[in-house]
């Protein structure tokens, strides 16, 4: 008898019913994506592993609340976005708990490093991570939250306890710094 390969909807339904087989499938399928999201926020390996597990615990706890009414071909993308947001929230909570956010973002001139960055069509993941690592912690955090993970400035403000306008200022600085670093190479 051929066994039907479960699709993502079946896996999510199984996880809602606490089926350990579906939970294992979901974990292994999205482990890489969650790890990539978490790595943007946390660099230390041990903390990263804990963060990934925390994110999945939250995913399994809240999976009953996930719903999507759009076209079926967008279902996986929507679910990935949902998981990504949960992971980002878990990462931000962990960062706030460890209180390692520094709000001083004006680096002295001699500390600015110019790197060789590929043209945008040849940008790789490592290139992007190098560029982001050069940003001050708070600018990198707000850039990740707003541009990559889609948080609004109001949401960022409430999570980081800063005014939304401050979040806008930090984002603008992050973008101009990224462009400066990128253009330095192209010139």
């Amino acid at each position: 008898m051929q066994r039907k390969v479960p699709d993502l909807k079946d896996i999510i339904d199984g996880c809602t019913k606490k089926d350990f087989r579906c939970e294992e499938l979901l974990y292994k399928s999205f482990y890489g994506y969650v790890s990539g999201v978490a790595f943007r926020y946390i660099k230390e390996r041990e903390t990263l592993k804990e963060l990934i597990n925390d994110a999945f615990l939250r995913v399994f706890r809240k999976i009953g609340s996930f719903s999507f009414d759009g076209p079926p071909e967008e279902f996986r993308k929507a679910f990935k976005g949902w998981i990504g947001k949960i992971t980002a929230n878990a990462a931000i909570d962990r960062i706030r708990a460890t209180k390692v956010i520094f709000y001083i973002d004006d680096l002295p001139e001699e500390s600015q490093i110019e790197i060789a960055v590929e043209a945008e069509n040849n940008l790789t993941f490592n290139d992007v991570m190098v560029l982001l690592d050069l940003l001050p912690a708070i600018q990198r955090l707000i850039f990740n939250m707003h541009t990559i993970d889609g948080f609004s400035h109001e949401e960022i403000g409430s999570k980081l306890n800063i005014p939304p306008n401050t979040s806008r200022v930090y984002l603008k600085r992050a973008k101009s710094r990224l462009i400066t670093l990128y253009q330095a190479d192209l010139q």
């Binding site: 019913k17 292994k28 990539g36 990559i148 973008k175």
Partner: protein, 414 residues
Amino acid sequence: MNRDTRFFNRIVEILHSHEDEYIPGAWEEFSVKKTKRRSAIFMWQLIGTAAVLSLFTYFTFEVLEMHALHKEGRMIKRGLKDKNKPWLSEERIAIDRGRKKSLPKQIHRKAGIAKSVTTLLELRHSVQYKANTLAMKKAREKFTKKEIITNRIVKVEVEIKNDSKHGIALSDTGFAKRILDRNFATLPLGNEIADKNKSEMTNIDSLTKRVNPEIRRKKNNKNIVYSLVLSPTLGSNKLNFGTGMEISYKVGNKLSLLGGVIYSSMNAERKGNNRGSGDKKLQDVALAVSGFEVPIGLQYRTKRGFYATCGISNMSVISDRVEYNYLIQTTQIVTIVSGGVPRDIVTINTRESTEQSQENIRNYIGFYTFSAGTERVFGNKNLNLGPFIKIPFGSVSSEKINLTQGGLRLSLAF
């Protein structure tokens, strides 16, 4: 779209499409953490619920008992007052306060002061006796509660005027002397013990010290009590078994904290509803689990020997088995030719098949436990006996098997 926007879009695209490699062993590590986290959450939820239920039970019992005592107090007061002779209560009050009370006119109207004095003494005596008899009956009921009886001793003095016109000379009338003697006896009034004669008082004294034969409990002044527990249970029409040791620690007059270790084995079943495809139909899923339970509970005991307990219990699973029982029907059609006419003979073979599941159920299972019962003397030990029920916090295994158990709880305290 300007170049900057294209640049940031490219960054977003790269980051969203990137996925790290799966690290072997990550799922197993996560499973352990998930199980521990779920067990911890369950335990805290169970502890919180058990605490709320215990407090609720405690206050309910306290309120009911206070209400019962208050009602009893009112009944005693009502019993002393005779509606037909309202002045009797006034006489009573006079005796209590040791004051002379002016006599009702009915008595003075009788011929002769001496006669009226005698009548008065007899009347007082009969009033006293009736009141004491009624109160004695109430007092006997109170003995089971072991209340401390406080006696207020009041001397009753009768003024006899040594006047031939108005009174009786002491030396003249033996009858009056007897009455006087009687009335100079001390009367404990706090709980109305009969006053007829000393022997009767002695009897009543022994009555106060007597323990009600209906409920005889060994006086337990110890704070820690050890008990052996036996708890046969019934769950999903199967008999289960539990035994172990329990420790009880007194935290108040009526409250005790319970803990212990109990080995228990449970069986449960869930109907398969004939699900399955083809010839194989699932009849039921059977679960057998055994392990050591650590119960924690709060027990409330009344003075009459009844108790109620509620708490939680965490079972550490030692062995578990999940079995799927199938019914497989195969149909065989054989064509035979008989007398030149082909005939189909259909044979249906039915057999039962059992498959063991590879699923690992959780290592810890939590239960709510509730029990109530009564305590009886068994030789020189106390035997607690009563029903109990264990409700799991959630269902077990992917087949959602319900492990609710109910049964009889016996414990021998020593």
